[in-house]
Symmetry: C2
């Protein structure tokens, strides 16, 4: 890591990770069509499947900066590829911070020169260096036995809501020594993403730069995973999803202004995907999120959010609960509903909302945080 000085702050803001030759890479990226050049070039990079280095710039997202932004990223890729003697598309670059200001090429060049000479740093230092307005360093670890070898996953992520004042982006990086074919790593990452990062929301706003990359060096020496029936594939897939879920939860816990962590579990949907969309409609509802902030068991707002989701639902089969206690069953408030355990549950920091649609076998859990005065203060009580 190094100090590129993208902002006027006395901290490291450029992270450089060198990867062993032959490292497999997979990635998932924002679907925001106004995405940054980093995201465009990263999408191209993962197609060839190999990575030698990762560079993360903090303090400037380089998004919506036109051809000048793209040139800045290509200059970084060329500089690192020259140093390592590798193809340029094996260098992955992410940037996070203000939108609309081209990344300064001179600062990036000097920062990378310094980083190439720097001592290796800890995971925690790296997690701090990729952060912007994050309030704590976020990392996760997991292990799995694959083909008789213990493989390890280490991961870091940044993000505090989809965005902080003028600062955007969730960036996550997973590093593992497992031997795996790039295409299969991509398949496992995409599947894990669907049940983890795609199931969190802080404020419904989708960054222009969101990126999660997984790098696998192969140093563990297991027989390469390249098919569904390969030895240890299930164990590795579970460990990968475990790490992704840990990272995803950390982002929500550091959500802007968040005081409570909320799990929304939807069952009885017509499909898992439909359940996820109903869950996100609840998790994105300002009225549900403010009710939880106010420790108010306002299940009528949950009904409203189910109904507006645009997914199959039948009002007269719908059941709503908090913390394992049903408040309404099959379209009506429970006659003997005792709010005491619900009120006690809502006073805690970890909240669960249960919704049963009563239609099918589809299920999903999504995670969010409450909407508080803190969110308004961070995003409105402020002039750029």
């Amino acid at each position: 890591m190094a100090r590129a000085g993208y902002k006027d702050w006395g901290r490291c803001d450029l992270t450089y990770v060198e990867l062993a030759e032959g490292t497999a890479v997979a990635g998932v990226f924002t679907r925001n069509v106004c995405c940054s050049s980093e995201v465009e070039l990263g999408r191209i990079g993962v197609q060839q499947g190999r990575a030698r280095a990762l560079v993360v710039n903090a303090g400037n997202s380089n998004a919506f900066t036109g051809y000048r932004g793209r040139e800045a990223v290509e200059a970084i890729m060329a500089q690192v590829a020259g140093h390592l003697g590798c193809p340029q598309d094996q260098v992955f670059v992410s940037s996070t911070g203000v939108i609309g200001v081209p990344l300064p090429k001179d600062k990036a060049r000097a920062g990378i020169e310094a980083a190439l000479l720097a001592e290796p740093c800890s995971w925690e230092d790296a997690a701090n260096t990729i952060g912007t307005t994050d309030t704590f360093a976020k990392g996760a670890m997991a292990q799995a036995v694959v083909d008789g070898r213990t493989v390890t996953l280490a991961a870091i992520i940044k993000g505090s809501g989809m965005i902080a004042p003028d600062m955007a982006t969730m960036l996550g990086y997973i590093f593992t020594d497992v031997a795996i074919a790039p295409a299969y790593l991509q398949e496992l990452l995409s599947a894990a993403n669907q049940r983890t990062f795609s199931c969190i929301t802080v404020d419904s706003d989708t960054s222009t730069s969101d990126t999660v990359l997984a790098f696998a060096t192969g140093a563990a020496g297991n027989q390469q995973i390249n098919c569904e029936g390969c030895p240890g594939v299930d164990a590795f897939a579970a460990a990968l999803e475990d790490v992704c879920r840990q990272l995803a939860h950390l982002v929500v816990r550091d959500g802007e202004g968040a005081q409570k962590f909320i799990a929304v579990s939807v069952t009885g949907a017509v499909s898992d995907d439909s359940a996820r969309r109903v869950g996100l409609s609840i998790a994105n509802s300002p009225l549900v999120k403010t009710a939880i902030a106010g420790e108010d068991a306002n299940w009528g707002r949950v009904v409203m959010a189910v109904g507006k989701a645009g997914e199959p639902a039948d009002r007269d089969k719908l059941s709503i609960g908090f913390g394992g206690t049903w408040a309404a069953r099959e379209g009506q408030p429970l006659a003997d509903y005792d709010e005491t355990p619900v009120a006690a549950h809502l006073k805690g920091q970890d909240i669960s909302i249960e919704v049963d649609l009563g239609l099918g076998e589809g299920r999903a859990t999504v995670w969010t945080c409450d909407l508080t005065h803190g969110y308004i203060s961070i995003n409105a009580d402020y002039r750029s």
Copy 2:
């Protein structure tokens, strides 16, 4: 109007409107699938096209109350139909307020008995009586010359955001003396709705009870409007849309915690409908709304909201402005961007955001308000 006493408040909360025989009716209703029995029965009622009476209950939305809620509405319809000697489906009922508590039948019956004996009241009194947490009475008037006759439209609406603490619903009623066939009134109302009520958002949350009804008595004596080429149809359609837009703007101006009224104009989209969806993505973005609250010309957040809308957009053709001043053109910040006029514009109460997608001829304007500490206070600093 009368005091049904749906809540413990010393005010009128039941509005009764008697309509001349032969009055045509049209309506648009919430798409929330968890809608109230009032909405279900109203949808059936407008199909036969005639109305003799309207009853509006304030203080209880009667939503999510199962068969008991439906019985309460049917009892009101039967009571009024018996009094007027008309078919039951010509009586329209709306309710607004707490979700999940069946409307008390005895209070409704006594309230209607009192209302049938009451003196006629002013439009302003009626607007106050249908309100819940609204902070002012909302009404609109327009006139048009149709077939040589001056026809008048008078309208009232309630709503302060989609919802207030435990209180839901936008309810709007338009009364006119024009002679028009019910099917054609429905066609004109649906078209006006698409460009007015469907283009406003306070908090993206869709009530379970939203209803707009238009009643036309025919007393103006014009040749009945029943076709596209009928005399005066364009003048009447324009007056109807004018009234709908006035009402829609009043709801946004009374949005929970609102300090600024925001018009988002989208041009250059592939279609009008696509432009409307891009506009709503911007108008629903918590980050755009908090930026306006903070008087911050944060056009990067507008870029983000365009990109997440799921509609055709090309980052490199996108232009963003505030109050008529471009901040970014064709995918890049303007080199000579002077923020002075934009900063002055954002200090005002009426804000405009201009977005040009540069793709086609589609255009739309949507209206919203800013997101402030007031919204959080109303919805979170509160226990039911």
